[in-house]
Symmetry: C2
Subunit: 132 residues, 2 copies
């Protein structure tokens, strides 16, 4: 299989990784940021299902493989200097392991931190037990 | 001056940096991704004008200081594990040094790479000469 030419534009860092921002394609919500290696980018493009690299588990992480909250790829974009990806997705359910739609649910407002999003799906439902 | 409590939630990496995604607050466009250190976050919150850390120049980078394309802060958010920021901004003009609105102007479509955005402001207008 020939590699997709967008891979020639990606500059992976010294660890072979590139940050990938996941954005819901129709609402514009920024859902999460995670990392991809070359294999994760290739798999995402080949399968149409978003795959990251888990830095903690040091393994490919097919988003939703344990939670069921998969991301269908709508479009993969690369930035001007090739060191960040923007992945337009269709997020099934919630993106965040806390059970919220987006990982970016806390904001600085005035002198305080406020929580913007409620838990939609309890984590114990997502993972069937304590977070792993 | 007391530090904003959101700083207690940010986990800076081994280099003292955290990735910051800039999103246009009203349209939802993801404009760019850059890095902040603690001082950049503090300055951004204090001044209401977005300030990054330039890894190449090793200095604070007040977005727009040479191009005029400043970002006004609308809201700063932090993700669930504190290792990424989402900065909602009001972008004056273009975010990208190429003169495009967003840095994410190239996409994988089919087997090709397509350019999605036109140059709105030529770089020589932005910088008054070759890119520096």
């Amino acid at each position: 299989m020939t590699a997709h030419p967008i891979l020639d534009l990606v500059r992976f860092d010294a660890d072979g990784l590139v940050p990938a921002i996941a954005q819901q394609h129709d609402t514009g919500e920024v859902l999460m940021m995670a990392w991809m290696n070359r294999e994760a980018v290739e798999e995402t493009l080949a399968t149409g299902r978003v795959c990251y690299w888990s830095r903690s588990r040091r393994a490919l992480w097919r988003k939703g493989e344990s939670s069921g909250q998969v991301q269908k790829l709508k479009e993969l974009r690369v930035d001007c200097d090739g060191d960040t990806l923007l992945v337009l997705v269709d997020q099934h359910g919630v993106a965040c392991h806390t059970g919220r739609r987006s990982c970016f649910f806390r904001a600085a407002r005035g002198g305080a931190v406020v929580t913007l999003l409620d838990v939609e799906t309890p984590p114990e439902t997502l993972y069937g037990g304590p977070r792993h």
